[in-house]
Every structure is written in C-alpha cells, then in structure tokens.
Symmetry: C2
Subunit: 673 residues, 2 copies
C-alpha cells in the first residue's frame, strides 16, 4: 500500500514556463556558492549524528540532548576535516536545529571582540574561539527586557580589593531568558549597573565566570538554571542567573570603550557611535530569516496543494488539486511573493552594510541613520509578516498541517519569538516612526532627506494615472501609491503629535502611538516593494528566462498590500472607487498567471528534504506514505496497550461489565449509574 | 526574595467603576449557576489527581497518560459521589485538560442516539453510557476530510453470510485524525461507502468493534494506532485505522434513517432533514469556545499588563504599567470586547437552538436555514479571530509570553485546530456565502428574507449621519454601517458571479471566491456586533452598575472592525474621509475610558487560577515569584550537569585545554584550529 507513486509534482514541473536551476543559482549568490552548499549538504546527509528522523518524536529534554550532541559534533567535524569558517557557516545553515551553543558564536564572541581590550581578547576570546570556554550574553532580567536602563543587577567597585561586587538585589533583577545560559555556558557577559563611589554610571558589560571548568558546577554565589519549557526553542537552555555578592577583578569590566582606574575613576573616551552598524547587520539577517521562514512555509504549502486533491467543482473534471482554488492561491501566492521580496531586501541591506563598513564617507552618516531606522521598522514588519504567514501556510494544508510531521508546528514555535527578541516589535516600530517623523519635519523646514525616505520630498498626489487593469501592473504606479500611503500615514501621525504639542512629548507620542506604528509599517511596505521592483529590473533577472514569473510576483506583492489597505488610498483621495477595482482585478488576474509556475517558483528555493523535514513538503510529493511511515514511529505506538489505558481505563470499563466466553458483552438489566 | 507582594492588581481593582461580581453572575447564567460552578471548582482544587502543576513539565506521552488518569478519575468521581450529568458537565468545564475520552461523549454516543435504531441503542448505547465500551467517530481519511463524498473505505454487503465487508482499499483510505481512536476506543462509528449488489450508495455509518474487550488488542484485520505528535492536543490519541476485509453483521449499519434488508435491498424512509439542528448546536458551542479562548487570553494579558512596568515616558512618572501604552490598549481592549461579544452571540444562538428544537413551527424553517448559514460563517470567523487574538495577547506579554508558564503556548496549540476541524474555515465561509448570495437574489426578485439577513431588504445608504465623534458611538449608526458593508460585500460577490454566469457555476464561484469569503465575514461582523448591542440594551445590563463599561466595549468592538476595514466603507461611498476620522478618534478615545475598568472587566470572567494555570494571569498578580518557582521544577534542572553536557560538551571543551590547580585557564601559545 505504501508503494504510492504520486505524479502530480512532476506534472507541475513539466508545465512550468522556466527551469528553476538558474534562479536557484541567483538566489544562492552564484553557481559556485550553490555548489558549495550542495557539498555541505552531502556531509549532512551522510552523517548519522545529524539525522532528523527523531525530530518529531522526542521530548523537549531529549531534543536538547540531541541538539547538544549535534552542536559538539559539528565542532569536531570542523577539526577533523579542517573545515573553514565559511564552510562552517554554510554547514550550520544546512543542519536543521543546532542551537545550544548559538549564543557563544553570535553574542559572546562578537561582544568580546568589539567591547574587550586587546588583553581581554587575549584572555577570553582566544579560548572561546577554541571552545575551551563557552559563553553567552545576559542582559534581560525577570523585570526588564525592553527598558535596558531599568536593569537592576549591580556591579559595585570595592576599592579595598580592586574588585567589582556583582549582585542581584531583588527577585526581578534575576537574569532571565539568555540563551545557552541555563546548563551550557561556563562564562557570561553580564550587563550590570556600574556603581563607583556611590554613583550609578548606568549599565555596562562585565565578563563573569559562572561554572567551574573542572566540574561544570556553578561557582560560589551563583545560582543558574534553565527557565523551563517554551513555545519552541526546546533545544536552547534559555536560563536564569542570580548573583549573591560575587567578586570579580576590576579588569573584567569590558574596557574597550570605558575605563575604571585603580582608584575607581570613570572615563569614557569619545568614540563615534557605530553600534548602528552592528544593529543593521543583525537586522539584515533577521530580514533574511523572515524570507527563509516564508520560503519554508510556501514550499511546503504549495507542494502539498499540488499533491492534495479535494472536492469536485465541475463533475466533469473530477477532484481538483487544492492549488486550483482561488482562495488557496490568494492566500499562498502573496506569501510566495513575500519570500522573494524579503530575500531581495535582506541581501540589499547586507550589501549596503558591507559598503558602509568599508567607506564611512561624509555623506554616509545620513544613510546610516536612515538605514538604522528603516531596519528597526523592518525587524518588526518582517517578523510579524512571516510568522503570521507561516500560520496561513499551515492552515492551507487543512488537517495534516496540524500534524508535527508537516514541519509547521515546530518551525512556527521556533520562528515566532523573532517578534519579541532583538527588540519587541511595537517598540521597534515606534523607534522607526520617530525617525520618520523627524525626517518629515526636516522636509517641512525645507531640508533634503536621504535614502529610503526621499519620497517625503514629493508632494502627495492629487490623482494617479490608473485607468485600467494594465495600469495597475505598472511598477511606477504601484510604488507611487505605496510611497504616497507611507507619506500620508507619517503626516497623519505628525498631525496628532502636533495637536498634543503643548503637553509632554511622551504623552503626545503615546496619543499618536497607533498611527506611528501604522506609519512605520507603511514605510516598510514601500521599501520592500521597491527592493523587489528594483531586483526584477536588474539585468540578472530582466534578461533571464524567469523574468516574467518574478515580475508577476513583484506586482502581486505590491497589489496585495494595497488591496488590504485600500482605505489608506481612498481616505486621502489618491484613488477613486473604480481605481481600487482595477487594483483588485489585476491582483486576481495575476493568481491564474502565477498558478502554472507556482511549484517551479518554490523549487527554485531548493530547500533540502533534510531541512524541510516535512511529510507534506517532500520534493517527490510522496505525502501520504510519509505520514503513514512516520506515524508508525510515534511513541504511543511502542506498545499495543499503552500504560495508562491498562492502568486506568481497562479497570474502569470492567466495572460491572459482564463478558461471555468470546469476550462479547452480555446485556445487563438497566441500572442506575 | 520570593516574598514579593505585588499591589498593582488590588490598586486597579479599587479604581474600577463597578463591582465585577454581579457581572460574573450574569455571565454564568445567574447566581445559582455560578455557585454550582464554585462547588465543582472546590472539588477540583481539593483533588490531587486533578492537579496541574506538572502540566508544563511533562512530555507528550506523559501528558497523555495523566489525562487518561484524569478522565477515568472523573468517571469514578461521578460514581462515588453520585454526581448528576449537569454536575459532570460543569465539573469537566472546570478541569484543565481532560480529553482522551472526549469523542466518546461528544461524537460516539450522540451518533448512536440519533442514527441508531432502538435495538442498536440497547446494544451499544447502553454499555457506552456505563463506559463498558469506549467509542469514537471515524470519518476523515488520509486522503479526504472536507470532501466527504470522496471517502474510500468500503462496506460491501455479502448476501451469503448477511454481513458487510469493511475494507481499506488504498493507502489514502486509511482513517486518519479521529480523536480517541489510536489507543483508547474499543468501538467506532465508521463512515464507509455502502456497496450493495455492485452499486455504490454513498457514505453511511457503521458500528465496528476495534479491540478485544478482554485484552484491548486490535481484532483480526484491524490496524490501529496513534498518528503521532501534533501542534497541540497531546492528550488526545488522534488515530489511524485500516481494515483488511473485516466482517460485521448486517445490523451494524446504523439504521434509524436507512434500511438494508436480508436481500440487500436499500430503502431510505423520507425524513425531515434536521441535521441542521445538530450543526447549529455544535457551532453555538464553537462560538462559546472562541469566547472562552478570548476570555483566557485577555485575562492573562490584561492582568499582566497591569503588573508589568516597563519604560519611562515622562521621567517624573517613573516606569509605566504597560497597560498605559496606547498600542497595548489598542491591541487588547478590542479583544476583550470580542470576548464579551462572542459570549452574547454564542448564548443567543444556543437559546435560539433550544427554541427551534421545541417548536418547529411553519415559519421557523427559514430561520433555521438562515441560522445554519450564519453559524457556518461564524464557525469560520470566530475561530480565526480568537486564535489570532490569542497570539496578539501572547505577544503583548513580551518575552514572558513565550514561556509555557504564561499558559499561551499550550492554549493556542490546543485551540487553533478549531480553524480546521468541524469544517475547514475557508470551506465554511464559502458555504455561508452561498446562502447570502441566494438571499440577495431572493430580495432582488422581490421576496422577503428572514432573520439576520433582513438588512438585504434595506437599500444601501447614500450617506450616513456621522458628523462628530459622538455620532460615531451611536449603536444604530454603527450597525447601519456594518450592515451596509455586509450588503455591499454580498453585492460585489454577486456581481462577479453574474459576470461569469455563462460559464460553469463552479468556475464562477471559484472566480468570486475571495469576495465570497469577504462577504461571509462581513455578515458575521454585523451579526456579532448586533448581538452585543442587543445585549447591552437588555434590561439586565441597561439597569446595572456595569452598563457603561459594557456599552463602551460594544462600541469599541464595532469601531475596531470598521476602522480595520475602512476601505469597505469608503469604496461604496457610505462615508467620507472626515467621517472615517470620526470613527478613528472615537475608537481611540474609548481606550482611555476603558482603561480604569480593564482589570475588573477580566475579573468578571472569573477564570480560576487552576484553569488559567498561568504565571502571568494569576489573580494575585504574583507574576515573577511564580515564574521563578516554576522554573526550579524544569526537567533540565533535575541535575546540575546535564547528561549531554557531560557526555559531549565537557570533552569538547577539554580538548587541548590546560588548567592550573585552581581550575583556571593556562594561556596557550596561539595555535591553528
Ligand atoms: C526566545 C527568546 C530568546 C531570548 N534570548 C535572549 C538572550 O539571549 N539574551 C537576553 O539578554 N535576552 C534574551 N531574550 C529576552 C528578549 O530580549 C526580551 O524578551 C525582549 O527584549 C522583549 O522585552 P520584554 O520581555 O521586557 O517585553 P516588554 O517590554 O515587557 O513587552 C511587553 C509589552 O509592553 C509593550 N511595551 C514595553 N515598553 C513599551 C514602550 N516604551 N512603549 C510602548 N509599548 C511598550 C510591548 O509593546 C509589549 O507589548 C530572549 C527572549 C526570547 C523570547
Ligand atoms: C485536531 C483535529 C481533530 C480532528 N478530529 C477528527 C475526528 O474526531 N474525526 C474525524 O473524522 N476527523 C477529525 N479531524 C479531521 C478534520 O475534520 C479535517 O481535517 C477537516 O475537515 C479539514 O479537512 P482536510 O484535512 O481534508 O482539509 P482540506 O480540505 O484538504 O483543506 C486543505 C485546503 O484546501 C482548501 N479546500 C478544500 N476544499 C475546498 C473547496 N471545495 N473550495 C475551496 N477550498 C478548498 C481548504 O480551504 C484548505 O485551505 C480532526 C482534525 C484535527 C486537526
Ligand atoms: Ca485592512
């Protein structure tokens, strides 16, 4: 029975208008890079330690242990095979779920590298590079995450011994959430208030050893552990940490940017505030992560929708692939478009970051500030958009989407905290909006503004040339509408702030907060659509075989945003009712044009079966046999009569029951319960 | 340190404009019923078996076993304490997580009661009532859920032996998803195609014994098991089931509505098609479930938002409760309003159902058909709205919302399949829309239409009396706008269908599908808002102390829908841009008015701490100590040095590392990795 040979996907592939391979090369940054990825995937597929077949059957604790095994194994692989850093970066991206040491690489070492002095780097970064110590970064506390100035952990200088006394004075000062903290890290960068001679100098970074390197037991005065199960991230030991007057030498304050001398004097050499750079870098990756989340979701949902047949519309046709249903297309194709859109935005920002790093010329600071503000807003928009999109993709798979074997439940649980960490989304949008309001004010004062906010220098349109469905596909027209909407949304927020200008600025911004968030999102919609239109206009795409399908996706991305926010076009009078209808019919019409290429467009992402780890998203479309096969391995199927049934249910059923010699019920006379 | 005495919630309670207790009585259907609930809660709280402290630390398998223990224990309690059916209904609603036998009560027994003959009920329903057998209802297969006519399991009549041969001819015919099927049920109502003399009579219900009552092993020819882990419902053994030519006697076809005689002749006595009634009943409960989900989410998020302080707006004020932030209010208060709105809709439909059951008079059939269609749409709207709302509430709790101890991750995982089971949401909305289109056509032909679609008989408004923020709070005005929007959305869909009228009807409805779903949702928005306005206008509320806060919530509910869909008001020209602004300012203004009563409004739901099982939602507000206490019990904290760290990480760190006698690193000369 399991010998089921689905042909739907090969049929779809033969009908596509283009060969996905060249598009795959483009997405991976060229043929060479793609082939590098394939080589690393080979290593993964051949390696039994990295196998994912136990992924959906293990408890959280088992998952943690397996992930720890994988993480250590990867380091051993690097050593035994002499893999380069670039090999490792690619290899890690190919492996599903390897996290318990993540904070060591992405927070602990970079913090030491940027905030540690030469001597401190020699002392801590060197051994960290060799994994002789494992570290993390502990900022958030039980009581404070967003508001860093509210952190309560103290580091009080003790002149007598030339030490800092690190202390957790309250319950809410307990460090809470840092990854790799609970059971893994031996060391930690701790953010604590620097107290010198009774004066509070605010939050600074200290390096503190947490565990004995011989026994791995916590050092005296340190209480540390796992914060318990979460919605996802089962493989990460997010931890809690308390200090009871733990003493550390003075030179464990990270002193690249600040100094405390032997007498407890504080000095802060002036330095250009380039933490913007790091943030832009992190956020470029968050945009790429969001793109990857949508690539994951749309690959599974679109492949499954091509395999799944359900319901008859026209009896002559038999059952339809669910990908033929307009609502299915109207839910999935905009998200497929979003996966591409965010890909181009993420890589554009990454490139911009690298250029800014290279040459911080005079004019670049304005671009840097704008990019920082735009990426704050993007962090919020893309994480919300991609996480909501994942749930849409899952629901489009009907009942089977709810099975862990679909891949969605675990992926969503692991992805969705992107809305919360690295800056809570609402807070990020508000931060981004503050910049937009400032830019708006500068334009009002007759100044120029640079970068992505340049549209603020164009007056709002009185009317738009949009007289047909064809006009509604024009990139310039769509961008004009998206820019006008962003401009208008910023202006509306500015008007509310203006109305409250006699009160405290904070009260004004709270009064305008809903409109400020809307403005930040509208700005991001414009930015992402612009990046997508720019990408499809670039020679690499314009002259390719896949130009037409990508152009359609860029149009659909813009149209679906405009359609969902039609009120923001009608209210300022940019468009009329009949013009909105053109947008809507253009959008619907695109669905049918994209339909034949949908499978090829997700094939181009070339996510491996190992990474998808999904019965529904398999490249060969063998959905049902895979669900069946995986179910046989379910933990409850280890025994025919499961423990609690034997212990509780069988005795309950037997009470007052009479069976004949064949085990059949003997009817009883009616009895009261 | 854990002796933390938060006072924020008592401060909030003392500031409220009303005492929540009388509102609680109203929500529970009167003081007597509420006190009945309290008596059952006492039983729960006193019972160690029903304890929930292991809820967030157990694996899926352990959760299943605990839930089975609880389910059996409840039946034993009923027997030992002589509890009534009503006691049990209330008791079950008080217990968090008791599911493995759910299908026995909600599907198996009701199906036997409605579709079984007297003799069949005597034979199967009687023992089922006593739990001598446990049953479920198996309809969905690997290959078919939505499209029941596509089911593949066959029941072929064998005249020689007077039996049916039940068979699973293909992989996709495997029964898949039924609850309580995998490990629990001894019997099953199986939906299979009735084949008589080579003729396929479509899907019918058969009762089949699955497991031996002595050994609980599957009977010959039956393969049954658990389908594996899911996004939630870990306590339910959703199962798979295959038949290899299993023979059952002819009298195991449920024959209350159909007959197959000894010669294999089929007859179907005419009977009034009242399956509408059952569906309306199920969906009334789904609306109440959605209300409960929003009560759960808003209770936790609003209490936590009153306890959590984060960020300073105005340095003079110190840190703010996050409930003071406009975005927090604008996200949470509409959902709080939604919890109340769906409460009133659910109970209104339940009452209507009971009335329709009592007296199916001549005129009631039109109401029945309309109610069936409206509740199909509601099933879809409320499950999507409540599940998305749960995630909004969770994200409003920042980082701690992501902890399982918040309650949200488990609750969401268990609630969200409501979007999929009992009719996939898109399919339900389309079904509802088909009725709306028919009603629209009837009105166009000059007929009357009854019930909730009566607004179709009122012409679309040319303009609306909405000239101030005050007008924007007027219930009649808001309902007029919601009805006009629904009417317009139905008309738009009808126009698209009209345009395609020369093609196949199915192609037309696929072309209009997006607009049809929009129409169904717009209709539901109107219905729920109308129910809420009707409720607050009823004497029980109008003359109460809590009239003003509930009126505000009813206004906010309607305004937030209109604001989010302003395009649907502007496009048809019902309102102008300045009128939309009135809606928006009215909506924002309400937030500040609701703020002082927010905690009292969730207190009125009176969800028990046992049921909330949430560190963030505790009635006493002792959030941080509870998070800390629960974390100490986390499985990874059982040992200081966890297994995989000892096995994999410690050896990795030790490679090439040199420690001095105090366990401190000895610097090494730089080495290549
Ligand atoms: C999976 C995960 C991993 C993490 N990893 C780490 C780590 O490795 N290291 C580490 O130090 N931390 C880590 N964190 C913590 C994380 O950085 C914080 O949770 C995050 O910054 C959000 O802060 P919060 O929890 O204080 O949310 P809060 O600020 O309490 O947010 C709650 C609500 O209040 C609102 N709010 C707060 N302030 C304002 C304001 N000024 N204006 C308007 N609204 C406001 C928010 O919008 C939100 O709705 C992690 C968290 C998670 C979930
Ligand atoms: C937790 C859970 C418990 C369950 N319990 C039971 C149980 O006890 N007993 C039982 O028998 N079953 C049960 N089920 C199965 C459930 O009833 C089905 O999963 C549900 O009916 C959805 O059907 P499907 O899975 O075939 O979805 P599909 O129909 O395959 O849906 C996939 C997609 O196709 C689209 N689609 C399908 N048909 C159409 C159409 N005609 N027009 C437009 N779009 C369409 C849908 O909108 C959806 O986006 C359960 C499922 C779950 C998740
Ligand atoms: Ca909208």
């Amino acid at each position: 029975v399991l010998n089921h040979q689905p042909t739907m996907l090969s049929d779809e592939r033969s009908k596509a208008s283009f060969d996905p391979k060249p598009l795959t090369h483009l997405l991976y940054g060229g043929k060479d890079r793609y082939e590098h990825v394939l080589r690393m995937r080979k290593l993964v597929d051949a390696d039994p330690v990295l196998d994912v077949s136990d992924y959906y059957t293990s408890s959280r604790v088992d998952r943690f242990h397996r992930a720890m095994e994988k993480a250590c194994h990867l380091v051993q692989l690097q050593r035994s095979k002499g893999l380069s850093e670039e090999d490792m970066r690619v290899l890690r991206s190919c492996v599903r779920e390897e996290q318990p040491l993540a904070l060591h690489w992405i927070m602990f070492m970079p913090t030491l590298a940027s905030q540690g002095t030469k001597e401190q780097q020699e002392k801590w970064l060197k051994p960290a590079q060799k994994c002789h110590i494992i570290g993390t970064y502990a900022q958030t506390e039980l009581g404070h995450g967003t508001y860093i100035r509210g952190l309560e952990t103290t580091a009080t200088f003790i002149p007598e011994t030339d030490e800092f006394d690190i202390h957790s004075p309250t319950l809410t000062s307990t460090k809470w959430w840092p990854g790799s903290l609970g059971k893994t890290s031996t060391h930690c960068v701790v953010m604590a208030r620097l107290i010198l001679k009774g004066k509070d100098h605010g939050v600074h970074a200290f390096i503190v050893q947490l565990r004995d390197l011989r026994t791995h037991f916590p050092l005296p005065g340190i209480t540390v552990g796992d914060i318990g199960d979460k919605m996802g991230y089962g493989t990460m030991d997010n931890g809690f940490l308390r200090f009871a007057h733990v003493r550390i030498p003075r030179d464990q304050l990270l002193m690249n940017y600040v100094r405390v001398d032997r007498d407890g004097n504080y000095s802060k050499p002036p330095h250009s505030k380039l933490s913007y750079g790091t943030m832009i870098h992190v956020r470029a990756f968050m945009v790429i992560d969001a793109s990857n989340a949508l690539k994951y979701g749309s690959t599974i949902a679109i492949r499954y929708s091509a395999v799944r047949k359900q319901s008859v519309l026209n009896p002559a046709d038999g059952e339809h692939q669910i990908l033929d249903y307009t609502n299915q297309q109207n839910q999935l194709f905009p998200l497929l478009a979003g996966a591409y859109a965010l890909h181009f935005t993420g890589h554009r920002i990454l490139k911009l970051y690298q250029e800014l790093q290279k040459s911080l010329k005079q004019g670049d600071f304005a671009v840097l500030a704008e990019t920082h503000a735009t990426t704050s807003g993007l962090k919020s928009f893309v994480s919300a958009y991609a996480s909501e999109g994942l749930e849409v993709c899952r629901k489009c798979c009907g009942g089977h989407g709810y099975s862990r074997f679909s891949g969605f439940p675990d992926f969503y649980g692991n992805y969705v905290p992107a809305c919360t960490y690295e800056g809570e989304n609402v807070v990020m949008s508000l931060q981004s909006a503050r910049f937009l309001i400032k830019a708006y004010a500068r334009v009002a004062q007759g100044h120029q503004v640079a970068g992505m906010v340049a549209y603020l220098m164009t007056p709002l349109p009185k009317k738009v040339a949009l007289n047909s469905e064809k006009d509604a596909l024009n990139a310039d027209t769509l961008l004009l509408l998206l820019a006008a909407r962003a401009h208008w949304a910023i202006q509306e927020a500015a008007h509310i702030l203006q109305k409250h200008k006699n009160g405290h600025p904070a009260d004004a911004s709270n009064a305008a907060a809903v409109e400020l968030v809307r403005a930040a999102n509208a700005h991001c919609h414009y930015v992402v659509a612009k990046d997508f239109f720019d990408a499809v206009a670039s020679p690499a795409i314009r002259n390719s075989q896949f130009a037409a399908p990508l152009v359609r996706l860029s149009q659909l991305f813009a149209l679906s945003i405009l359609e969902q926010n039609s009120g923001d076009l009608l209210e300022p009078g940019f468009v009329t009712s009949s013009q909105v209808k053109h947008l809507r019919t253009a959008s619907r019409h695109l669905l049918g044009l994209i339909r034949p290429d949908a499978v090829a467009l997700v094939d181009a992402f070339d996510l491996s079966d190992h990474f998808l780890n999904s019965s529904l998203g398999r490249k060969d479309g063998d959905v049902y046999a895979d669900l069946y096969r995986r179910a046989q391995q379910a933990p409850l199927n280890k025994t025919e009569v499961t423990e609690s049934v034997r212990k509780h249910l069988l005795p309950l059923m037997a009470q007052g029951r009479h069976l004949d010699s064949n085990g059949q019920l003997i009817p009883t006379t009616p009895a009261k319960l």
